[in-house]
């Protein structure tokens, strides 16, 4: 059996910019703001960082796909920096790689930055680069997830009203969060009346196109208390990659995502979690579209396949529910700058576990989960954090 990462790495500092349409800020400004906030939170000087990982999806202007994007933003020169790009799991995968390096004992203090400036891109929604000119022609992120949502409804029932409940919940949570892209409540009627984007998804079923950056400073667990009294420990991490073209796989059922199931199994094994819905206190999951959150409940083992709709309908994932999901507002309301999201979700769970989440604080948070799902359900990363 492979070794576990449990309690070998700690998060000692977090930083996160305001998320939104930050038309007057550049990618490098956002990265600097998040990174220096994390340094300050950790109580370290930049020189203390021995290595850095950057998670970002779109090529930078100037740096292209190289790690110089981060080096120049932070003036962090002469040190190892690695750029990670793994669809929407980019941020958590950057964090995972940094954790592996620290757990291996190669570095003591490492910086992880996730950042994205989607509003600098020339199209609305997510610009898909490097796709096949014929085989995927016409595919959009909402359209790809809508394929699964429609099949799921066909199998298990449910409709747009089920989806609307996820939007209402996450907008409610986001309204409590000063850094969220959207700070407004929406009603079920508003959600249902919004223009369609990709059936069954309307405008409020889709996460927005957002700019933002987040950063965490991690260190060896046995040195964490040198930096602060309340470090948050990594309990488990799993990453799983499935096909990038599920729509060509004749065996794919299109009712959920095996990548999430596999990544969660690995993270739970490391963390020693047997009953996730009982043991996990709070979760930030990948709600790129409302239906994705419902599928995540099932794929992460919070409930059985086909029962995710009851998990939302019965209020179990609400702030006051038995497993609050996306207290930050989620991608839906906090925003989803691709590479930034995973790291941003880690900062939310750290706040929850430290008891610093303000109006959206979940009671007695002991164990928190972060989940990203990238591509058309192709790449999933699950991180479990604890005190």
């Amino acid at each position: 059996m492979a070794e576990s990462l449990k309690d070998k790495v700690a998060i000692i500092g977090i930083g996160c910019t305001k998320f939104g349409e930050l038309h007057d800020k550049s990618l490098s400004e956002l990265m600097a703001e998040a990174a220096f906030a994390a340094y300050e939170d950790a109580g370290i000087e930049p020189e203390r960082v021995e290595a850095a990982w950057l998670g970002t999806f779109s090529p930078g202007f100037g740096g292209g796909k190289a790690s110089v994007t981060l080096a120049d933003a932070l003036r962090l020169y002469g040190k190892p920096i690695t750029r990670v790009e793994n669809y929407c799991a980019t941020g958590t995968d950057a964090f995972r790689n940094a954790c592996l390096a620290v757990a291996a004992g190669v570095y003591e203090v490492v910086l992880v930055v996730g950042a994205e400036k989607l509003r600098d891109r020339p199209v609305r929604g997510l610009q898909r680069e490097g796709t096949h000119p014929y085989l995927e022609a016409g595919a959009t992120p909402p359209g790809l997830f809508a394929l699964a949502a429609n099949r799921y409804f066909h199998r298990f029932g449910g409709d747009r009203r089920t989806l609307a409940k996820v939007a209402v919940k996450n907008h409610h949570n986001g309204a409590l969060n000063p850094k969220a892209h959207f700070r407004m409540e929406v009603s079920e009627e508003q959600v249902l009346a919004a223009p369609l984007v990709a059936y069954p998804f309307g405008l409020y079923d889709c996460c927005p196109t957002t700019d933002g950056a987040a950063a965490v400073v991690i260190c060896r667990a046995d040195r964490a208390r040198q930096f602060r009294e309340d470090p948050i420990y990594v309990k488990g991490i799993g990453l799983a990659v499935e096909t990038g073209w599920p729509f060509f796989d004749p065996t794919f059922e299109y009712i959920g995502f095996p990548a999430t199931v596999a990544a969660a199994a690995e993270a739970y094994r490391m963390a020693g979690i047997r009953n996730p819905v009982r043991e996990i206190s709070v979760a930030e999951v990948h709600d790129c579209f409302t239906w994705t959150e419902i599928s995540n409940y099932e794929d992460l083992g919070f409930c059985k396949k086909g029962e995710g709709r009851y998990f939302i309908e019965e209020g179990r994932s609400a702030l006051a529910g038995d497993l609050p999901v996306n207290p930050s507002g989620g991608l839906k309301s906090f925003g989803h700058p691709i590479g930034a999201s995973g790291v941003r979700m880690l900062t939310e769970i750290v706040l929850q576990l430290r008891g610093q989440a303000g109006a959206r604080q979940v009671k007695n948070a002991e164990l928190g989960l972060v989940h990203n799902l990238g591509g058309p359900g192709s790449v999933a990363c699950v991180v479990v954090l604890g005190r």
Binding site: Y134, A137, G143, L147, H154, L196, Y254
Partner: protein, 484 residues
């Protein structure tokens, strides 16, 4: 009856039509909408067929060829005055899309409304000299007329295909004749996008004179009077004078094949084969059908219908296709569909290296079948997705029909006419494809609905039109395969 002699060796043994199919694009525009856009009254009742933004003569032709239900042939002769490529054999692209073997004859015929019957004549010749049969003759046109001209209302878009051979002949070619005449009626120069029309009473007189010469020769050769012909097919040149032309040529109104002008329009060089297919749909054994092709001269072919016609099943009859129309809501939509790719040429620039391995494979629609577990996969793979076998995989041609496994209606997809329906389709025989759905009202789409694959223009750029498969709803009668 014709007595075989040395000069008509092609008539030795039975050669003729072994299959026929028509494809009318699903879109229609009411002529009153065209007329109203220009502040006038319709010059003709009814509606015309019209291409969607992703269609052209080549895609219409492929639908017609697929309607023949052939898995192999000796050649494809493609006739069109509006073929998308002026340098590059359009028929070769059609052959690839049919996934026919490469050892076949391909040829493009063009430059005249007579191109369809010229191609038919050439196919009869090729079969007569003993080459592999059948030869597929397919004609398709999407002619452009000047806005506000009568022709804009007269013209329609469509395709028709014939299989020509010796096996299972449903209509034997008994006699034929051609005449050449450099008469001016419709012309288009190399630099023109639109047809210049000389339609007038004089033009109609020329039509009658030229057509008569071809008809007289065929009737003389076969020893028949005009009255002994069951059905005469006279491609209309000017809707105002069609009936009079038939009378001047010595035919009674009931002998004249219906022209579908009020439902379809004049579909260029595809008209003669379209009307022949229409005649064959209703033909009885022993019927004599006289087919005329016209343009810079005329062709005439006399067919005698055989008893095999009674067993021949037309996969998608014209009446069914007429029933399935999707009406453009406005004249502007009709024009946008026709002109979209004239103004949008910014698609990806592809290398011919990429084309050779990716697009050709995609257009031939080849997948992989695993010999261990039987799973069919697309695109082709070296390792089975299900059982990981690497040793027993073989390339297979995938089915061209299927069932919607799931779908979405996407308003975000860039398109000249949103929304775009995207579907995951399980194809007949195995394999799953991800395809745009076209020619559909989004509200019609359901999981489990039957679809047919149809090659369409996805984009344009780098000197190429980018063709790839989409799917479309399968018609009610569209499910079976033709016999013969």
């Amino acid at each position: 009856m014709i007595e075989p002699d040395d000069e008509t060796s092609w008539a030795l043994g039975m050669i003729g039509i072994t299959g026929h199919a028509v494809y009318l694009p699903r879109h229609r525009i009411g002529r009153e909408k065209i007329a109203a856009a220009h502040g006038g009254k319709p010059v003709l009742e009814g509606e015309r067929t019209a291409i969607g933004f992703d269609e052209d003569a080549l895609t219409l032709a492929l639908e017609a060829v697929q309607g023949l239900g052939l898995s192999a042939c000796g050649g494809i002769y493609f006739a069109s005055t509006t073929a998308p490529y002026l340098e590059r054999m359009n028929a070769a692209l059609l052959a690839a899309a049919c996934d026919f073997p490469e050892e076949i004859a391909v040829a493009d015929f063009a430059h005249s409304l007579r191109a369809g019957t010229v191609a038919l004549m050439a196919a009869l010749d090729r079969v007569a000299v003993g080459e592999q049969e059948p030869i597929v003759v397919v004609s398709a046109d999407t002619r452009e007329a000047s806005p506000e001209s009568p022709e804009e209302q007269w013209f329609g878009d469509g395709a028709a295909a014939l299989a020509v051979g010796r096996e299972h002949v449903v209509a034997e070619a008994k006699a034929r004749a051609s005449v050449s005449d450099d008469f001016l009626d419709f012309v288009r120069r190399d630099k023109d996008e639109r047809v210049t029309s000389f339609a007038s009473r004089f033009t109609m007189e020329g039509y009658c004179r030229i057509v008569r010469r071809a008809i007289v020769r065929v009737l003389e050769e076969s020893g028949l009077q005009p009255s002994e012909v069951t059905r005469v097919i006279l491609p209309p040149m000017d809707p105002r004078l069609t009936v009079r032309a038939a009378a001047e040529l010595g035919f009674r109104a009931e002998q004249v094949q219906e022209t579908f002008l009020e439902r379809v329009g004049m579909i260029g060089c595809a008209t003669p084969l379209f009307l022949l297919s229409a005649a064959l749909e209703r033909a009885q054994p022993g019927d004599r059908i006289l087919l005329v092709g016209y343009g810079s001269g005329a062709d005439a072919v006399l067919f005698e219908v055989t008893p095999l016609i009674e067993d021949y099943v037309v996969r998608d009859p014209i009446a069914e296709q007429l029933r399935r129309g999707l009406r453009f809501p406005s004249y502007e939509r009709f024009r946008k569909a026709r002109e979209y790719f004239r103004h949008h040429d910014e698609g990806p620039v592809l290398s011919n290296v990429f084309y050779e391995k990716e697009e050709v494979r995609a257009i031939r629609l080849r997948g992989t079948e695993c010999g261990e577990c039987g799973l069919r996969q697309f695109p082709p793979t070296r390792i089975c997705q299900r059982c990981q076998s690497k040793t027993s995989l073989r390339e297979v041609s995938l089915g061209r029909r299927g069932e919607v496994f799931t779908y979405t209606v996407d308003w975000l997809t860039p398109s000249p006419m949103p929304p775009t329906v995207l579907a995951v389709v399980d194809v007949e025989g195995g394999g799953r494809l991800y395809l745009q759905m076209t020619d559909v009202e989004p509200s019609e789409v359901r999981i489990g609905m039957r679809v047919r694959l149809t090659l369409r223009r996805l984009g344009a750029g780098g000197g190429l039109y980018h063709y790839y498969w989409k799917c479309r709803p399968e018609g009610r009668s569209d499910g079976g395969e033709p016999q013969g």
